[in-house]
């Protein structure tokens, strides 16, 4: 294998306390020509302040419509080993838990068939195998299949669902995020692998309102754990926090958005019917406070990045559901949403944009859900109301007309 290309600019990124991606590429480049050329092209980008990738074509594995991002260098003469440099998105296991055994198997496959570079993980959550050629796609798929790893989403399909570690390692998880993620992923394999939507659709599950997978900002359907009854309080532990110097009035109560707490120096009182389940008090006193016992989740819809209609946050669709296997209520609503969106959504229109275009009220009618006050921050401020019915002269008994 030839020497590594000279990379005076990139070399500067090998110093400093944080681990260096340049060192990673170099380490791979020691034994892989793709990575070597990547290093060279990247140095050129750094020099010229411009990327050198071409718009990708459609490549993939047989029978799948997504999961591979085609990528070609625009300098194939200079960097022939990355003239093709496709990425494979591999569906990670829920919660990103691994054994060293499984990781080593993936590494071995990627050593054989790709650049030896990965992202652990991509921002949707997939294992990203970074850079290979078309002819290697099918072999990688085959070998990964042997260790039960399937391909993730890309294009106008369901994207790989992801979740926080939930009940596996967190005391606050109000439902089993990993179980739901696995269940939905398995149930919707066809939608995940064969793009048939107007645009992408993402699920992210967080076990509580801290939302450790940024679900409310980054998924078309955000499923966030919460509880309906009262916060569990251990008054002794509260006093212990106070004794150890926590200023409960200013640190805890002073930050409660619902202003529903009180502390007389001995007992902490929470007026739970006003509590908005923000988690703050629980976050700062984890030994004393815990979510209630009647747990479930809030289902929200519609978040996305800015293109085209501006960024959106998900908004409440179902204020509270228990969310227990087999999750039929949830799947029914998902199916209804997809039906309506596939029927009337425009190309490249995310579900959040679709709802804003047709109106939330009409959307609810279409998916068969009753409007509830929890869906809005506040009722309308403008008087432009589409009243549904009006009376015609001569209507008997003043019946309403459609």
């Amino acid at each position: 294998m030839a020497d590594l290309p000279k990379t005076p600019l990139l070399d500067e990124l090998e110093s400093g306390p944080f681990p260096s991606f340049v060192s990673e590429i170099k380490r791979a480049a020691e034994k892989n020509d793709m990575s070597k050329d990547l290093l060279g092209q990247l140095e050129q980008s750094y020099r010229e302040k411009i990327g050198h990738w071409k718009h990708g074509g459609i490549v993939g594995v047989m029978g799948y419509g997504g999961g591979v991002i085609g990528r070609y260098s625009d300098l194939p003469k200079e960097w022939p080993n990355i003239s093709h440099f496709h990425t494979m998105r591999i569906n990670h296991p829920s919660g990103w838990f691994y054994t060293s055994k499984s990781l080593r198997e993936i590494c071995n496959i990627w050593e054989k068939h790709g650049s030896g570079l990965t992202n652990m993980h991509g921002s949707t959550g997939d294992i990203i195998l970074l850079g290979t050629t078309t002819d290697h796609l099918e072999p990688v798929f085959e070998e990964l299949g042997k260790i039960d790893f399937d391909i993730g989403g890309s294009g106008s399909d369901l994207r790989t669902p992801s979740c926080c570690c939930g009940q596996a390692r967190c005391e606050w998880a109000c439902y089993d995020t990993m179980a739901l993620t696995y269940d939905l992923t398995m149930h919707y394999q066809d939608e995940l692998h064969r793009p048939a939507f107007p645009y992408k659709f993402k699920f992210k599950m967080s076990g509580c309102p801290n939302d450790c997978v940024a679900s409310i900002a980054r998924s078309d359907m955000s499923i966030i754990g919460t509880w309906r009854d009262s916060i569990q309080i251990d008054q002794d532990a509260v006093r212990e926090y106070a004794d150890k110097g926590m200023d409960i009035r200013s640190d805890v109560i002073g930050n409660c958005p619902a202003k529903c707490m009180d502390f007389d120096g001995k007992e902490l009182h929470i007026e739970n019917s006003y509590c908005v389940r923000c988690m703050h008090c629980i976050n700062v006193m984890p030994k004393a406070l815990r979510p209630g016992k009647d747990k479930g989740a809030t289902v929200l819809l519609g978040s996305k990045a800015p293109i085209v209609e501006g960024a959106m946050l998900s908004s409440v669709l179902i204020p509270f559901w228990k969310l227990e296997p087999p999750y039929s209520d949830l799947k029914e609503i998902v199916d209804n949403i997809w039906d309506v969106w596939c029927e009337d959504g425009k190309a490249r229109e995310r579900v959040g944009e679709f709802i804003q275009r047709v109106g939330l009220g009409n959307f609810l009618d279409a998916i068969g859900l009753e409007p509830v006050a929890e869906m809005v921050a506040h009722p309308r401020e403008n008087p432009y109301v589409f009243y549904e019915d009006y009376f015609e002269e001569g209507d008997e008994e003043e019946e309403e007309k459609g």
């Binding site: 006050a373 432009y384 009006y390």
Partner: protein
Amino acid sequence: MADVQERRTDFGPPHYEQFLPPIIKENYGKWKYHEILKPGVMVHVSETGDKLFTIRAASPRLVCIDKIRDYCDLADKYCDGYLRFTSRHNVEFLLTKHENIEPLVADLKKLGHPIGGMGNSITSIVHTQGWVHCHSAATDASGIVKSVMDDLSEYFENMKLPGKLRIALACCLNMCGAVHCSDIAILGIHRRPPRTDHTRVKAMCEIPSVSASCPTAAIRPATVDGRASVEVIEERCMYCANCFTVCPAMPMADPLNDGVSIWIGGKVSNARSEPTFSKLAIPFIPNNPPRWPEVTQAVRGLVELWASNANKYERMGEWINRIGWPKFFRMSGIEFQKEHIDDFKHAGLTYKRSTHLTF
């Protein structure tokens, strides 16, 4: 034209100074503090030590000249002839003599004008013309105002509320009563699309302006029975009547479908929270003259719910903001409906974009 030239025009209103009582001229800009002595009576104390007493009396706003003359008589009797009106159309008498307060209060009561509307009270309703004078009205103004204030007069005459509560009424979506920022707003609404008189459109209206006037683009030029006119796509119409404003041949009023809607939680002052719009509480109540009992009852219900649950100083909207709208709907028993969900321009921003919920 010579006439017009000589005619005195553009001389503007009289200068306010000539209407100010001497105590005001002397203490102009020097007031130090005020105190509400009792409902409807306050004193302003100047840095000079001077004291000005103000008595505020309710007014129906629609007053005949003889009533104005009654006011003048009282002003002459107790106030050296000085009086004013407020931005909410009450009448205020400006006194320098403390001993004149009680006799003036007594005389005003005799005249049928309650004293109050100060401090943490409900003052008079800002309102509009209604069937008394406007062609646009979807309801009457003065009749509802009279009925509601009759019902709430205790709150005009005492100061037992958590904070100020401002009610306004507008008889159509033009909102001359500027109800869009009121604690409680009563808004006249139509609920059926305009019934275009195709024989008159061409003659009376400019067709391009009519099409352009519609906020939801429900109107397009059309030839009807061979006449140039316009066509209304009924599903797109939300009854705003803007087309009628620019085109008399598209009347909206309809006894069966007109009525009022009730909006709450707006405010104007910058005190504590920022000014904010009123939000839809009750989508529709049919017109029921002469006393609109369903409206007065709904308003009283809202006032009492707020009064018995809000913290001190909390305006209606501040209270609801604290407890959240879902809780407000549960407490009020008002049914949340599709109509409450915004579907105009900024609708997406009114959706609940967090898990901050109460159960």
